[in-house]
Symmetry: D2
């Protein structure tokens, strides 16, 4: 019922699957069974890659349905397990182990073999990206497809567990191969919690435009770190850009367009804060495999490390860098704020409650600045202004709108939820990591994009290192958001002024 | 009943375990649960390392017994599974997934977290070595300990799956750090099939003695390859030594003591064969995790690769090396032959059948050469001679014994079995890989050790590349040994002459 | 009389020079004298760098005049030498050695010390670039400045002698630092023989425009080599771009705009020729220090090397690449041809001999194609057409002009001389190296720049390896140009048709 | 008259020289002349290498005599120079430049070309080692040979000038290739001032015996640095071993036999002093080319560097290491003290002044300890004891001899001179560098070798960084030795007690 019945299967699909997805060995021979020939994996990979999009849906559906768990065998074991409950522990343990084995989908074995072939891990990461898209686009709603996705995700989580990741610092001396990928992925995305689905990503703040931009990001007072993985050499998986500053930055242009210090030596005494101003993931297929948060933690440790020497690949290296760095914070975009705001304005207008959003005095200012009559016309003028970004050109309007937008934005970040967690994916990401929603910054991103996405507002999620574990747990377990007084103050103002 | 009741537990053991082995998250929150603090893992590692041997047994027993699977919960799910059999597939799949999750021992989560800590993977590899020793030495016979061992093995198998391994060629330009480890491990061992247990290893043929020996092993006409793993940097896991020769070598001294070509350039036209003359593993805790056979396969591919260029870490490198290499073979020791032979002689003597082993003519020769009267005295003389290695000093005796020892050895390798597989662990290893038992070589290892272990005989397991998959499968599934005419001829002679 | 009298010296100049350019030690103590403090060199470098352009002229003039050879002491030694002619050889040798020492300018010692300071060699290379510009621009005509230039050049020649240069292959895995420099310098220049002066360079054919262009130049079927020097790490000095092709290329776009093979593996059987399509130097101050020719020779050797293995920095590497490459050639621009041609047309017009350049039939064609009346109007029309590059848009005009421009160009390259050597600096460069002027290619560079510089014509200088030493010597000693029949044929046509 | 007349020249020598040592180009064509074919250099190198020792003497004599300066041409230029003295400066400068050119020995050009061939620089370094041996052994006393040596030395000095040297830190991660060479050369030598001749070297204190010794020298609390040169890749030229200690070491065994900290992390707070405990050169042919002193200075700078980051080959590296290191000192052997002492005793005995060396009380002690009668027998007993090292076994004798040997040794180091400079080559080396003779250490080297060479005494030459330039100059120019009060005190005691 989940497959697409009205079109014939791609020729050879069934034959291929039957040939390459060999049965699991019996429980007794599971350790001794010779692995199937590597050509099985290679054949599977070639075949899959040659398929069109729709055929891929067919193919994966077939694979997940026909080569999953042997339900019958499983039931029998369950019966047996229940029978043995009276027996000795050794027997119980053994039946449990058999049960565990019988829960292995037949295709899991194939996926494991594929991971061992050259380029196999990358293939599986890309296959998972396909699965996520199939699920998100509802191209298939088969529970088996979801099962396959779950199996693959748990395998990838094993392979990409942090012990196997390698932290690499990217510098201007790194291979061009790597830097080009960094350059591309800064127009990329960061993964967020699984439940938000694969589309919940945010674009990096500012795409890299040229050699100078790129050089700036790896030059003095900047750090660029990436996780790479042995099975995907030369592929950065998550990339974190850090600025080393005197104070916690409140403006992104001062970071990415600051070329004055490009050729200077770093003065360690001027470095008090580490600002994470961009984090992006490059592999859609690793969604839900936690990498970004681990990368932030690793980098914090790297920047903090005590003096000492460690053996690295090419000799010894001093690992203590910055004795004075005591402040860690992101400078993060707020994707979705503008469209949320437009939605809110529309809805309020429809409901005839548009005037509730601003105070009377504020409406007076808006009317004066836009020259529109009070009431709905002023509301419409406001919507238009926000839609075009035109308001930024008038000092006066900026002055009027600053308190309004700041408190709305604070609410959007702090108060808007989805299943109890922050609606905004970037907020959700940092709150999970234990950060505090610390400071909203007005005129923090004056680029057209920044204005269009979030009215130029950006936010610092600050990492108070001694509190992050506790904060993270409180957020994840009890949905408690840690926020500063500035943020909660703005939220209060919002609650006072706006009758949401 | 498995623990050691008469001595108090190491103080703090229970408290520590209760604290660091946190309960599994519920099935619903399993993906969202924040990981426990890293300090749990670190604390566990420090504690364990500080324990004496006996306390380790206690500790691991406790861990495996008290923090395993929740049997009760499991039973309930099993009941539920059986109840749902009439329901829709989606529900079944979900219950199965819950069942699968409930089969996770609580300690497994901790092991996973440890693997993410710096040095954690190495810690777990060493922990497994302890477990294997506990099991082998029967220091504990708890089925839980065996379960823990199985869980850990399957985790290690994931982490050390071939896609995550990195083939490194070791040269004289490699870091001393690595070469020293190679130098030590050539006095090491190779893992063999699990069922033979952790003690079934073979010593490398010739330990490296000094700079020159080592340089010889990485110089011209030699290759040294190792697998390394991202999570254990700088640690070669398995090491394979290859000699590039004109013909398939029949003598180990001609490989390890050949210094004539040490400073010459390789003449590619003189290279027709690749001889694997030493393979050794360095990590006892990876026993049963197949690495050696993969290493051989990877190296064969490396040596055979088509012309072309590949991007490597430090630039491009030509990857085709040897157009003429068409013969691949090991030159392997035969550990255990001498002791098997002594055992045989003892047993035959006891059973009064000693004379059955040699033909009458052969006995005449032995009597003449040893000056002993016929019958038991001759048998005893023979035993003594073989025990001391003295026979090698007499040309005459050598001539007499060659056919005898060769056919006995052929039988030992080909005919002696354990559960249907070759008793000799090296034979078993290569036969599993699909090699053919190709040629027994007389006077192949004239070192005292070679004489003591296997009367100086060595054997080539030859890799006919087009046949190895078939051979391997036939051996593993049907216990069929692929052998050359020389070997089967010797076996026939044995069967004709000896009445075993 | 060489200094600039009407403006006061930069303050402190004299004092500084007196302080840092210490006197030479006496002949007797020359080996034992302690070196002056490094701070002298550093002070000199800082001071010089802080000067404005005109002050630099002053400064260098002063340095060269006041801190040169001690002429008086020298004369005395010359007298002594003449006196000793009757004495024994040992004495003569000693006086000669003293004479040699007394010919050392005092500033030479300082230059030597500067070279030992970090960044010193680069400083001196840049200082020499200043000297060359001063001489070329006649900012100073002091013979001492020329002497200083000569001294510095001979020192640089020692330091940049080929034994100290390191050939590096640049790939996409090379540091971005290097690739960016390559990218910039391909808009650079190649040094030519000294007598042509520092302005006689040619621009690289096609500047690199972006990542793709750059990646193309280091990808499959391309090689990029550079010389680097230990004293200027990370600075490529001369860069050679090579295309590996089936035939000798006759078109530059087919090399730099060919992206089809960018992701393919090289097929060694399709590689028969190595085309040097760009060579550029990055250091103006190394003018006259031969690097480019050595680079070509080294690269030829690299591409030709016999099979074998060599120890490199990171292990062993196969050094034989291309068994089939038997053809080596440049594909070179012809800078200056268009302006030479315009000059020729102007001059002929002035002298009323304009019609001599084309045959009558050719003039008919030009008249028809341009619609201009015969005689001077046709000549003017031709000049205008060539000046704008407009002619390339008319198939007809192209047809008419091809034979004309090809024979004029052949003459320009082959027949136009300066002090007996080829006027065209690129021709001069390759002829010195022993290349043969092999083939002129019509429509070889259809870029606006190619049309503007040389009417789209390019030329192959071919390296017949067995003949290059002889050719080079014949050219340098006897000014004989080695040329193919195509070229000499075109030259004959020119001589028949044009009455120069 | 300098050549060896009674044996025929090696066949082909003359012909070869005539062929490969081509005449210098004329002054006018010196920049444009094509270089002779590389094969000349290669032929020369092969030929020379094939010669026996004696033939080499012949060959080099011939080369230096027959292919030196053109004396006649030189005289003519000298006459011309004197004639031009009345003329303008430009002319004078030009004649001087011609004169300079005419002073170039013909063979110098060949040596230059050889340096450009692969392996050429190493060839010339080895050639110079031959020359030094010929001169030292008086195998030839030709002034031309000395001239050739001088020319080659000045060329090598250019090529090995510090700007071209590369400081490399050697660690356990360095290639085995390098570490093996380090291991060998620690049984090597350090260069000293030229006038002491090539034999004036000192053996490194303790030869490296095995992996552990070597690992100790590159492990924690130790540093090992070497200069390498681009033209001789993989060859360390001078090697400096440094121990990082709490106090200035007074004992060599505590450095080279201290394995306790081998696996510990360095505690930077325990590092107050850097002790140079071994410096050795590996290239006999670079004698007189200052490398050792530059290496010490570079390493001091490396250890002292201010915080900051520098781009290195493989990324960025922190370059500040040790904030607390404020003491720099050698711990040096005193080669030659024992033999000087034996010579002194012999001479005094001969002159009947033996008793002058010790005070009466001291003689009493010696008599008592040795049981010999006073006078000459006691003197002889003392000589014998010192000759065998037997005295070290008697606590009593040690007590008696300590003050005696310490003051004699202080005198040997401080007072014994050769041409006004310290006779002891190690002292001379460090005093030139500006070090202070700081402390004599009793029982500093208790190895048999240490006792045999210098009665177990070692000395610290301390580098007070602010004073080293002044000290070095004072020593080199005025022969003033900087010494501590301990040393001068011992010297006074010597002068008071001994009537030398």
């Amino acid at each position: 019922c989940y497959s697409v019945p009205d079109r014939g299967s791609f020729p050879g699909m069934d034959a291929l699957l039957a040939r390459v997805v060999v049965p699991l060995p019996t429980y007794e021979t599971r350790d001794k069974a010779p692995p199937p020939p590597e050509s099985n994996s290679v054949e599977f990979m070639h075949f899959y890659r040659s398929l069109e999009k729709e055929d891929k849906v067919d193919f994966l559906t077939k694979l997940s349905e026909d080569y999953g768990v042997d339900h019958k065998n499983l039931s029998e074991l369950a019966v047996k397990l229940l029978d043995t409950q009276i027996r000795d522990l050794a027997t119980i343990l053994q039946v449990e182990d058999r049960l565990r084995y019988s829960l292995t989908p037949r295709y899991k074995q194939l996926l494991g073999h594929i991971s061992r072939v050259e380029g196999g891990v990358k293939f599986l990461v890309d296959l998972r990206a396909d699965l996520l898209e199939i699920i998100a686009s509802k191209a298939s709603e088969s529970p088996h497809i979801r099962d396959l996705n779950g199996t693959l995700k748990s395998m990838l989580s094993e392979w990409f567990s942090v012990g196997l990741l390698r932290l690499e610092r990217i510098t201007w001396m790194s291979p061009c191969e790597i830097l080009q990928k960094i350059s591309h992925c800064t127009a990329g995305s960061v993964e967020t919690l699984t439940e938000h689905g694969p589309s919940a990503r945010y674009e990096a703040v500012h795409p890299v435009r040229n050699w100078s931009d790129l050089k700036r990001r790896v030059g003095p007072y900047r750090r660029c770190y990436a996780f790479t993985h042995a099975a995907m050499p030369g592929e950065p998986l998550v990339v974190l850009h850090v600025a080393l500053t005197e104070d916690i930055s409140d403006n992104i242009q001062s970071i990415v367009r600051e070329f004055a210090t490009l050729d200077s030596e770093e003065d360690v005494n001027k470095i008090n804060a580490a600002i994470f101003y961009s984090i992006s993931s490059t592999q859609a297929g690793l969604q839900g495999v936690e990498l970004g948060n681990y990368l932030i933690k690793r980098v914090v440790r790297e920047l903090q490390r005590q003096r000492g020497w460690r053996v690295l690949r090419h000799g010894w290296r001093a690992v203590s860098e910055f004795p004075h760095v005591s402040q860690f914070s992101s400078l993060s975009p707020i994707p979705g704020f503008s469209s949320w705001l437009q939605g809110l304005l529309s809805q309020y207008r429809k409901e005839g409650r548009g005037l509730d959003l601003l105070s009377e005095a504020e409406w007076r200012e808006v009317e004066r600045a836009t020259g529109s009559p009070p009431g709905t016309p002023a509301l419409d003028a406001l919507r238009r202004l926000l839609g075009t970004g035109e308001w930024t050109r008038s000092e006066r309007l900026c002055g009027v709108l600053e308190p309004v937008l700041m408190r709305l934005c604070a609410w959007y970040l702090y108060g808007e939820k989805r299943r109890g967690y922050a609606l905004n994916p970037v907020a959700n990401f940092h709150l999970q990591n234990g950060a505090t929603m610390w400071r909203l910054n007005w005129r923090a991103d004056s680029s057209p994009r920044g204005v269009a996405n979030s009215c130029g507002i950006m936010v610092n999620y600050r990492y108070f290192l001694s509190e992050t574990p506790r904060n993270g747990a409180a957020y994840l377990q009890n949905k408690v958001v840690s926020a500063s007084e500035q943020v909660t103050g703005l939220v209060s103002q919002f609650q006072k002024n706006s009758k949401l």
